[in-house]
Symmetry: C2
Subunit: 203 residues, 2 copies
Amino acid sequence: MSYSSRQNDGPLDSLIRALAGLPGLGPRSARRIALHLLTNRQKAMAPLMQALEQTAAQVRICTACGNLDLSDPCRICTNPQRQQNTLCVVAGVADLWAIERTGAFKGRYHILGGILSALDGITPDMLTIRPLLERLAGVEEVILALAATVDGQATAHYLSDRLQDARPDLRITRLAHGVPVGGELDYLDEGTIMTALKSRSRV
Amino acid sequence: MSYSSRQNDGPLDSLIRALAGLPGLGPRSARRIALHLLTNRQKAMAPLMQALEQTAAQVRICTACGNLDLSDPCRICTNPQRQQNTLCVVAGVADLWAIERTGAFKGRYHILGGILSALDGITPDMLTIRPLLERLAGVEEVILALAATVDGQATAHYLSDRLQDARPDLRITRLAHGVPVGGELDYLDEGTIMTALKSRSRV
């Protein structure tokens, strides 16, 4: 079973196919992982199956912000300690996790569900822009924490226009661009150095 | 949940930890895969869970050769079309699959379960060498299809001695070394070129 690419005769092939479809994995790494699971049933396969089952059964999407949590609304949306007047717009849950790991943000989030992209055919109605515009009551600042890519910045520009139209008094901000902490100038691209130079500050 | 490395509060963290322990994956790729699974429950999570369950329930290890299959003994061991007089010794199931994909081998296999390694502390009693010696009835040739690494060749040498002791009339062979098909000389190491030169054949 599973030796050839022609054959397809059983659960091991289905497993390899399911694994190979995951982001970052291909047929070769999927075969390696499937073999690892089969030869480590107690240590690797059983915990993975249990975690998958529990995750599938218990984790839900927050209808307010789009975050993944055990409760809906999520613990960030319901936390009274979090500022209600600041909303941080991110493309996906991975970005929310990245910001939460810093511990530097005390407001709430809004997950767009992607980035506008002409190439990938992602249009405004495919993102949670309307729900965002309906969440602005009591919000004073919206931080557009989107990628510093062409698509990310185009999305930020579009959102900024829509938000300003809906609430002219809103403070709309974006993450600073510049030299990453620990970054050596020699290894940075010209665009980053140029931006860092333009946004230079007094020491 | 799962934002920080300090927190550990639920099934999503368990899932990320289970994924991060798989070969070739780390915390970052595990987070990415977990998010992909959660946002594609029907298309990615359900098929993976089903394949895992079926694999865990149905796939067993062949007590004759060590192969993974739905039946024990496996379909290669029980296939009357396969030559009973030729045994191909491989380190693991992945190598068996690699050879089966060529379609060039019509004998049966014996899976060692690893390679002798002083560094990793793998000793002869940790491999299926005794079962191999007990499978030699009716066998005329044993092909040692082991990696062309120092450990692989040391294992082949050790096995060759043990096999010859057990059955002096046995024909013991190994895979040819040389220039890989499609390989350019310029990119090959000296050891391979030297071996290919020594084992040169008439055109």
